[in-house]
Symmetry: C2
Subunit: 341 residues, 2 copies
DNA sequence: TGCAAGATTCAAAGCGCTTTGACAAATTCA
DNA sequence: TGAATTTGTCAAAGCGCTTTGAATCTTGCA
């Protein structure tokens, strides 16, 4: 059943039916009701492609699997995407997921030139990210999940990674910790850079030595969490507390602590960033994990809204949000054990 | 730059340019080369919507976040989707991700009637899954990731869950284990049902009592793995080995074993199903985990191919695959400790 | 009652592409 | 050399929708 048939059936013009369906004001109330009823009855749905062609808008937003993480996939992406998809569904927008084969820039160019999407979501930005200016040149609106250095006005939503890790570090310092290790994501990415900065600043503010060797960055997997934690804890003067950039890394760090015959909390405190994944809940671990928490799913949902606004022509310069991050205090953080130092 | 402009520039008709670009045979070789060169030069890309409208095919496949797991998201979905997206990119097909708000059936109806996609991928099917017949009625080709009871011909790709868990159970039995627990996914889903069946059959084949209480099913999270393992291990006659349906559940089970002061492997053996996630690698754990392994990413890639074939009109009845599952023997499985029993 | 203003409705022109059926040019064959 | 093919190209007709600009029908008011 298409518009023509529906119009024919109703004895109306396609124009009127289209307008009635799309809520234009110049349609009589009686007529509108008739149209709506018939559309309902025949399960009429405008053909997506035809509508796109006529309006020029794709009615879709794009998400590109960045090649950076193409091999090493981040499980939190599911939650993020679920947030995006859920909110997009509400505004009847499609979500197009593309994988960048080879050059990621090509993928964006393809999306732009084929007019497949009205806006794209850019994940895991780097401090200097050429993608933002590329998209600007392509005139493809973008909302960045995170932040990047750019003079160009670009919409973004980020969480306060710096503040979160600063406060977490301060909290550990308040408990008496002097040597606080950081197990971070790859600092090529802005979020990791910000976290490192927060940690570094808090240490500096207290006058603690900021030794680079206490800050490690890499993949946020269980295994690398384990490896880094072991490395740090086997130092002459090991840290008495560890900050982990992901729950998976924290799992690895906890394993390392145990493997070394130490107790989590009592011997080595742990704070982890929690994105709110259902698969591993920090509050159910033993001991329950102190976390910096921010729901990545909620971020996805909000980003979908921003993308929709952008697609509708909103000014990117006005679409900036930085969400505060909660610290949830639990059993994995205790004062450091008594020591000579 | 659109087709018209390109044709104008070349002094050719739109027809010829279109045909040249799409590789039709009736275009002169010289002409074709000219057209291709110009298209390259001007970065011409056909407008996706226009092409869809003209051809009637959406050039996209759909993936629906099932409401079943909408709240409790599965991190392995990222890997699956990455596989789908990567392969789809090769065949220039879009991947549309939709979230089912409310009734999932509505989402499929919407996709079908708006002709947004040429085929859909159905994940986590149940034994009796109304979605398959719904999609059949909607004439929307479907490829099921897993299997379901249905008389209708439907394409699917599944892994041999039953065989995997049967062999894993047999392997444990061969090591001398008599009481083997199962920590499974929700048996409302076929994959979990099959795994349970494999476990059950192996036990029965050896003449071991198949006590229902040794088989537990629920979410595949760390927490529920912990809970179930604890429950089982606190029995009067606890299992000496545990089969876990996911690496996350295995992580929880390992924690439970340790919390009870037991040793993984020596006191309680563990086998887990490994989907190949990078975030948690069974071979790097202590002890390294014995697993049934099948890359969910590879499955996603192959499913994208099947979906493309379906979209191109292939007969679903001919598109069935069941992949064998490898068992990878590692340190977490040892003979059971000597006991009175 | 007559007419301007407002409320509805419509026919037709795109949107940018593919594809059909016709036509011209080049080639082959008798 | 002329007819019969084959090859290469084109104009035009859609695909199903939105939207413009004009036409028609109601009202309200003088």
């Amino acid at each position: 059943m298409n518009l023509k048939q529906l119009a024919l059936h109703l004895g109306l013009s396609q124009t009127t039916v289209s307008r009635a369906l799309n809520g234009f004001p110049e349609v009589g109330e009686r007529t509108r009701r008739r149209v709506l009823a018939a559309a309902e009855q025949f399960h009429y749905r405008p053909n997506a492609s035809a509508r796109k062609l006529a309006t020029g808008r794709a009615g879709a937003i794009g998400v590109v699997f960045s090649s950076d993480r193409n091999l090493l996939l981040d499980p939190i992406f599911t939650d993020f995407l679920a947030g995006v998809a859920a909110r997009s569904a509400e505004s009847d927008t499609d979500v197009l997921v593309s994988s960048a084969l080879g050059d990621e820039a090509d993928t964006y160019r393809r999306l732009a030139r084929a007019h497949s999407v009205d806006a794209v979501i850019l994940s895991m930005p780097r401090e200097e990210d050429p993608r933002v200016s590329l998209l600007h040149r392509l005139a493809l609106p973008v909302v960045v999940h995170g932040r990047t250095e750019s003079k160009l006005p670009y919409a973004h939503l980020d969480i306060d990674n710096e503040g979160a890790f600063r406060r977490a570090t301060e909290m550990l310092a308040d408990l008496g910790h002097r040597r606080i290790g950081l197990i971070n994501g790859d600092t090529a990415f802005t979020f990791a850079l910000h976290r490192e900065r927060g940690w570094r600043e808090a240490l500096a503010a207290r006058g603690f030595a900021v030794s680079a060797e206490l800050g490690r960055a890499g993949q946020m997997t269980e295994e690398s969490g384990y490896r880094f934690a072991r490395l740090l804890l086997e130092f002459e003067a090991p840290p008495s507390a560890l900050l982990c950039s992901s729950i998976f890394a924290a799992l690895g760090a906890m394993r390392a602590i145990r493997d070394l015959g130490l107790a989590i909390g009592r011997d080595v405190s742990i704070v982890a960033h929690d994105d709110g994944l259902a698969a591993v809940r920090p509050e159910t671990l033993t001991p329950a994990l102190t976390t910096t928490f921010s729901s990545i799913r909620a971020a996805g949902a909000r980003i979908a809204e921003i993308a929709a606004a952008l697609a509708a022509g909103a000014d990117p310069a006005s679409l900036h949000e930085v969400w505060p991050v909660d610290i949830v205090f639990r059993g994995s953080t205790l004062p450091p054990p008594e020591r000579a130092s």
